[in-house]
């Protein structure tokens, strides 16, 4: 009778360890790792001595203006993708849902391409604004289309897929005639954290903070929706209103992520499954843990991205897939894969 209690406790312990140990360790590792000078030893000495080392000026520049924003961005984007993925899977009751599903990534990509081709967008800041606007617009269109009747999970998924394909088609059509745009777009679409600066971070932080706060408020009513719409309404919930708020939170989070780092696939799928495997069926705990897992995996991927083929960098999105796959395989193999919802009918 006490077994599940132990399970819950060990899950919380593991989650606590992840927050308290792994994430800070990765943050330090991220600050001392880079393709150029200062190396790990020099960086660590700089960090520990608070700036009183011989080549403090270089270290200061590199760590403060390059590695720190990049590390912060990896954490922020990881949290955003993890939380958004968790919300979207519960919202659509679809374990395959990830942050691309509401047309968010496709909308961002189309907007970036339009910006490059017709508005001369060429800087990181310009990409950021176009991508963010495109993500919000894409998601808004999907929600509008799905809400025309009643926004059931199936409608949401299908509207997302339909509009996502339309956006991708338009993106391809625009790119076909513009070699120059394509060359720029190619770098954006391979999600990376290498170009992030403090300005971009400050621009996107409020949106991520708002989305996480909103996510924490909506998880309780959202978890009731997993009992089915009838049961949720019998408990006094308002499925359509809840879905709208959840979609808003997920859109803000995923839109921020794609604006800051470009499209990073797989993380929004992996993090919620890993979180569910550890945290069990409680949605609030799942969402928090999903954010933490997202941050840890993305940060780890970004660190490896800087060191595998120095002095070049592999886009973090590529490494997320490589590093994330083993985690996902563990989840699948360990029999801990939990379905989001099951009919109460059969055993």
């Amino acid at each position: 009778m006490t077994a599940p209690r132990h399970e819950g406790r060990s899950a919380r312990l593991l989650a606590g360890a992840l927050v308290a140990l792994v994430l800070p360790a990765l943050v330090v590792l991220s600050l001392v790792t880079g393709a150029g000078e200062p190396g790990p030893v020099g960086s660590l000495r700089y960090l520990l001595s608070a700036g009183s080392v011989p080549d403090a000026a270089t270290a200061d520049t590199v760590i403060r203006t390059l590695r720190l924003p990049r590390t912060a961005a990896a954490v922020v984007v990881g949290i955003a993708l993890g939380v958004a993925g968790c919300l979207l899977q519960a919202l659509t009751r679809n374990p395959l849902a990830e942050t691309g599903i509401l047309g968010i990534n496709a909308g961002a990509a189309l907007a970036v391409v339009l910006g490059i081709t017709y508005a001369g967008a060429g800087t990181g800041a310009a990409y950021l604004v176009w991508a963010f606007a495109g993500a919000l617009a894409g998601s808004a269109l999907v929600l509008l289309l799905a809400n025309a009747g009643a926004a059931t999970p199936l409608r949401l998924v299908l509207a997302g897929i339909a509009l996502g394909s339309t956006f991708s088609g338009l993106t391809a059509a625009v790119l076909l005639g513009n070699q120059a745009s394509y060359d720029q777009y190619r770098f954006w679409v391979l999600g990376t954290l290498s170009g992030v600066d403090t300005g971009a971070l400050w621009f996107i932080m409020p949106a991520v903070a708002a989305s996480v706060a909103l996510a924490l408020l909506v998880t309780r009513p959202l978890s009731a929706l997993l009992l089915g719409d009838d049961a949720a309404r019998a408990l006094g919930h308002h499925p359509r209103v809840i879905r709208a708020w959840v979609a808003l939170a997920a859109t803000l989070a995923a839109g921020s992520a794609v604006a800051l780092a470009g499209p990073i696939a797989f993380l929004g799928l992996l993090a919620p499954h890993a979180a569910r495997a550890v945290a069990g069926p409680r949605l609030g705990v799942q969402c928090v843990l999903s954010g933490v897992v997202g941050a840890a995996v993305l940060l780890g991927a970004d660190i490896v991205a800087r060191v595998v083929v120095p002095p070049f960098e592999v886009p973090a999105s590529v490494l997320v897939a490589l590093l994330g796959a083993p985690v996902m395989i563990w989840v699948v193999r360990s029999n801990r894969l939990l379905r989001l919802t099951t009919s109460g009918g059969g055993p």
Binding site: M1, T2, A3, P4, R5, A150, L217, R220, P221, S223, A224, L226, L227, G228, D230, A231, R233, A234, L235, G236, H237, H238, R276, G280, P281, R282, L283, L338, R339, L340, T341, T342, S343, G344, G345, G346, P347
Partner: protein, 285 residues
């Protein structure tokens, strides 16, 4: 607090499921709705729980039109045990029952000792205290059904609507759960339930409501209502009505010869009921 349906008409595009039904349930009474598959029982219950907006007429709880109340206000007065509920995999029995406290919690108002007490009492009443930490998806159908009943109990409402609360229970658990329901009514709650088995319905109902084709064909105390004529009207089956040796409650014994259609509809009521629910659910909302 009483629940009244007034000249209720409701349905789905192209299909009227409930036609001009009026029904009142009072505190301390158990009302049982019976009728053949597709007679509009579930739609009636969904209307009374504010899940389905009627095309005509209205539903009032404690004198107030449910559609003028906020959903949460209705959920504090009326609870519903749905027919084929679903739940997240891995959830524990206690985890499920805790959902019953949602109507009593706000966006920020957290779990209180009152909630804890209500959940503990609900699980004790439904006889699932021992199952509290067990995973719902690893319980038997009957245990699971009692968990869902406990959820509705934890909602702690003066009116309870139960859509086939015993469809998956064995005889022992049926008697146990129906005993709990009678006990709740004795404690002052108004209970409306849909049952498939007429004999059980007749035994546990204060008022029996018989529906067919969306209309109420008869209603009243079971002993006066359950007649061979009613059985024939509802199911097209000839039946004898016996009096139970203990208390004289009517017992329905269908005859083997067919009257209008399938003569064994009554015997396989439980299974037929479950299958029918699924197909009823399948109709577009």
């Amino acid at each position: 607090m009483d629940l009244v349906a007034d000249n209720l008409t409701a349905g789905y595009p192209g299909h009227t499921a409930v036609r001009d039904v009026s029904l009142g349930v009072r505190e301390g009474e158990v009302t049982v709705v019976v009728g053949p598959n597709g007679c509009g029982k579930s739609t009636l219950l969904r209307c009374m729980a504010r899940l389905h907006r009627p095309a005509g007429g209205c539903v009032r709880v404690g004198g107030a039109d449910v559609w003028r109340l906020r959903p949460r206000a209705v959920a504090r007065r009326v609870s519903l045990l749905p027919q084929v509920p679903e739940a997240p995999e891995g959830i524990t029995a206690a985890g499920l029952v805790r959902f019953g406290r949602h109507p009593h919690q706000g966006l920020l108002r957290q779990w209180s000792s009152r909630d804890e007490a209500a959940v503990t009492r609900a699980m004790a009443d439904a006889g699932i205290t021992d199952l509290a930490d067990r995973r719902l998806d690893r319980l038997s159908g009957g245990q699971r059904q009692r968990c869902w009943l406990a959820l509705a109990l934890a909602q702690d409402t003066p009116v309870m609507l139960l859509d086939e609360p015993i469809s998956m229970l064995d005889l022992g658990h049926q008697v146990e759960v129906l005993g709990v329901i009678r006990h709740l009514a004795a404690g002052g709650r108004a209970v409306v339930m849909v049952l498939h088995d007429l004999t059980t319905a007749a035994r546990y109902a204060d008022t029996l409501v018989a529906m067919r084709d969306g209309r109420i064909v008869d209603h009243g105390p079971p002993r006066a209502t359950v007649t061979p004529a009613l059985i024939r009207t509802l199911y097209g089956v000839d039946a004898d009505i016996l009096a139970a040796p203990g208390d004289g409650a009517p017992v329905v014994v269908p005859r083997h010869e067919r009257a209008g259609r399938g003569g064994d509809a009554e015997e396989s009521s439980a299974d037929a009921g479950v299958a029918a629910c699924t197909s009823e659910k399948g109709t577009p909302p």
